[in-house]
């Protein structure tokens, strides 16, 4: 176990290098975005990755000219609450569709799945009509409601729940757990990787959501980050150093969320087989 053969060592090295090169190419556009954020306007199109004149004036401009902190807060609230809702309801429905046999189960699954087959662009008008009727436009609930339960998440959880051995559930039933208890205490912990993935994607999706929030929001103080930044970008048409600075600031929380959750994907309990 201590003597790793040379071929294996070389293989490992090759993989490391390959991944590193791939990573360099992968993050190049991101680095360019970062670099531009720190450049003064005149240098935006200079071909240097490391800016000659590093400046913080773009970030300062954003803080001075926009209610950036408020946008941040709005986005954090909307994204977090939606993620919590999704991470509760989606696995629940996914579990039922995967593990509880009843008539019409597949039809329901397809009906739910079909709901993501209509592009959001066409749904925003009926959504807005509904939001106005309920007087929730320009509120957090108004911004959040279309995303509180997602077909995507249900599908994801269903796939992962399906791979769970039925014996696991049976064991729970023998122990006298309620159905919900089986779901909560047995199924959920066993799909932690998928759950973490779902949390990441839901948070990110809501963080970057634009099409519906821009319609739902008319009061500037309720703007989420993408809506505020888009407007800001338009007002500063072609001032890409400002746009990139805004994009950089918008990315930070998501990277943090990812950093926290990505370990969960790996630390998840793998099935050790009950058989």
């Amino acid at each position: 176990m201590n003597r790793v053969p040379l071929s294996q060592r070389l293989g490992q090295a090759a993989i490391y290098i390959g991944l590193l090169v791939g990573a360099a190419i992968t993050i190049f556009p991101f680095l360019w975005m970062l670099s531009t954020a720190f450049k003064p306007g005149a240098d935006v199109y200079s071909m240097k990755l490391i800016p000659e004149n590093i400046t913080l004036e773009n970030f300062k401009a954003i803080f001075d000219q926009t209610p950036f902190a408020r946008w941040y807060m709005n986005s954090v609230i909307v994204a977090s609450l939606t993620t919590l809702s999704v991470c509760f309801f989606d696995p629940l429905v996914g579990y039922i569709l995967a593990k509880v046999k009843f008539k019409g189960r597949d039809v329901i699954f397809f009906a739910i799945l079909s709901s993501i087959m209509i592009p959001t662009e066409m749904l925003v008008i009926p959504w807005y009509i509904g939001a106005v009727k309920l007087s929730i436009e320009d509120t957090y609930l108004g911004i959040m409601f279309p995303g509180l339960i997602t077909a995507f998440g249900i599908f994801l959880m269903r796939q992962f729940m399906e791979s769970l051995p039925n014996d696991l559930m049976e064991a729970g039933r023998i122990d006298g757990l309620t159905e919900f208890g089986i779901f909560w205490k047995i199924a959920m912990p066993n799909v932690r990787p998928a759950l973490a993935a779902l949390a990441i994607f839901t948070f990110l999706g809501n963080w970057n959501a634009f099409l519906w929030p821009v319609i739902a929001i008319t009061k500037p103080e309720m703007n989420t980050l993408p809506v505020g930044l888009s407007n800001f970008a338009y007002q500063n048409f072609n001032e890409y150093q400002l746009v990139m600075a805004g994009a950089t600031m918008a990315v930070l929380p998501v990277l943090i969320v990812f950093a926290i959750f990505q370990k969960q994907i790996i630390k998840g309990i793998t099935l050790t087989g009950i058989k």
Binding site: Y45, A131, T218, Y234
Partner: protein, 439 residues
């Protein structure tokens, strides 16, 4: 751990119900209806009226309008104006969504090119003759304002208009020993050739003239080049497209040859014309006066000049505008208030402040006089008296047809005549469908 999560979830869900109630505070720069306004001791007979004014968000514009609203409300204490602004790029989505939901403005600021759709849907009402007499408008505003008419009635009136002119980089001109911007088509080609630079691999480093269709190129072709060649873009009754007359074909050929033959410009160079011009990589660019706002901090000297004249020796330019109109929602007392507000927005004093603060050109000659010596605005202002605004049924598809035509020539080697005729057929169909519906 699970119990805590459950408790947290419950708390959060409860919180979101609470949050549903709380949204943006009602305070914006202008107050919404509040019965107990402290500033007036009006006799009870003057009723309080609130009207809504919608326009797209542009910082200097929004700030100026907020200021104007304050002044208007002071002068008219019984009127309150609710100012709603939208992001420019989602303008139509927002209007469609809001109107479908039963909300809507009394006065709306819209692009004149959308008039056919807005008017035909019954959404706009014509401006009352007594408040906005046609004779007065024609006397006091530039002729291009006529494009705010449909069926002989005025529906919208602009505060500011935009025209096309030739932006040119004075520093690049000096470096190439060219004293004056081009006055004719031929001069344009000659100067552009001197100002185009390529590197050893044949890659463009600098274009003498920024050739494009999207942006303002298509407007330049339609309203200016065709006329300069002796033709006109459409019939006077706006029913027939006249691009493929011999004059039109000649203009199109000259235009496209700027790239294909003279190679003084290229579509897509540095992504777009603004980027190229701002970075000193395009010596000349036909663009609208609205571009001045984006060019505030360029490190070189630039000016605007009237567009070069063509074979017929006459000056032309294209104008467009965003203007204010009355929606059908404005009735009774609101209508009166809306009319007052619209008048306030288009009076000379407002226009002057508008131009100073935002940089758009005034719609009244008496105000434009004051700015005609500004070197950056001069070229644009000069064109105001003779500018034409194209009648559009569908501006996006109209522009798209020309984009495809030019691309067919450049990318697929189609003949200019054939490409233009195909484009004309497409747009003619749009017009035919439109007019047949209106019977």
């Amino acid at each position: 751990m699970k119990k805590r999560f459950a408790a947290m979830l419950a708390a959060v869900l409860a919180l979101s119900v609470v949050l549903a109630g709380c949204g943006g505070s009602k305070e914006t720069k202008t107050e919404t209806t509040e019965p107990a306004k402290t500033e007036t001791t009006q006799p009870a007979s003057s009723e309080k009226v609130t009207i809504e004014y919608w326009q797209y968000d542009y910082k200097s514009k929004t700030e100026l309008v907020n200021q104007l609203i304050k002044e208007f409300q002071t002068a008219n204490p019984n009127i309150t104006i609710n100012h709603v602004v939208f992001p420019y790029e989602q303008y139509n989505e927002k209007v469609a969504a809001a109107v479908s939901a039963g909300k809507g403005p009394d006065v709306i600021n819209l692009y004149y090119g959308w008039l056919p759709k807005y008017v035909d849907s019954g959404y706009l009402q014509p401006l009352p003759e007594d408040a906005f007499p046609a004779a007065t408008i024609e006397k006091e505003f530039f002729p291009v304002v006529k494009a705010g008419q449909m069926d002989g009635k005025y529906y919208v009136l602009p505060t500011a208009v935009r025209t096309l002119a030739m932006l040119y980089n004075v520093d690049l001109f000096k470096a190439a020993n060219i004293a004056e911007p081009p006055k004719t088509w031929d001069e344009l080609v000659d100067q552009a050739k001197k100002l185009t630079k390529r590197d050893a691999n044949g890659q463009l480093e600098q274009v003498g003239f920024y050739f494009n269709v999207g942006g303002q190129g298509h407007n330049w072709f339609r309203e200016v080049l065709i006329r300069q060649a002796g033709g006109q873009p459409q019939s006077a009754d706006y029913k027939k497209i006249a691009w493929s007359t011999p004059e039109g074909l000649k203009a199109f050929k000259w235009w496209v040859e700027l790239q294909t033959v003279h190679k003084v410009g290229e579509i897509g160079f540095m992504t777009d014309d603004v980027t190229a011009f701002k970075n000193g990589k395009a010596a000349m660019d036909v663009d609208g006066s609205f571009r001045l706002g984006n060019l505030k901090d360029v490190p070189f000297e630039f000016r605007s000049a009237p567009l070069p004249v063509g074979p017929d020796g006459k000056q032309y330019t294209m104008a467009s505008f965003w203007a204010n109109g009355l929606t059908k929602k404005a009735q009774g007392a609101q209508k009166e208030a809306a009319i007052k507000w619209m008048k306030f927005l288009t009076q000379p004093d407002t226009m002057e402040r508008w131009t100073k603060a935002i940089g758009e050109l005034p719609a009244r000659p008496e105000v434009a006089e004051k700015f005609k010596d500004d070197p950056k605005m001069a070229g644009f202002i000069q064109g105001l008296p003779y500018a034409n605004a194209t009648f559009f049924v569908d501006e996006v598809k109209d522009r798209d047809a020309l984009t495809v035509a030019v691309d067919e020539v450049i990318l697929n080697g189609k003949s200019t005549d054939e490409a233009l005729k195909e484009a004309e057929a497409k747009v003619q169909k749009l017009f035919d469908d439109y007019w047949s519906k209106r019977k």
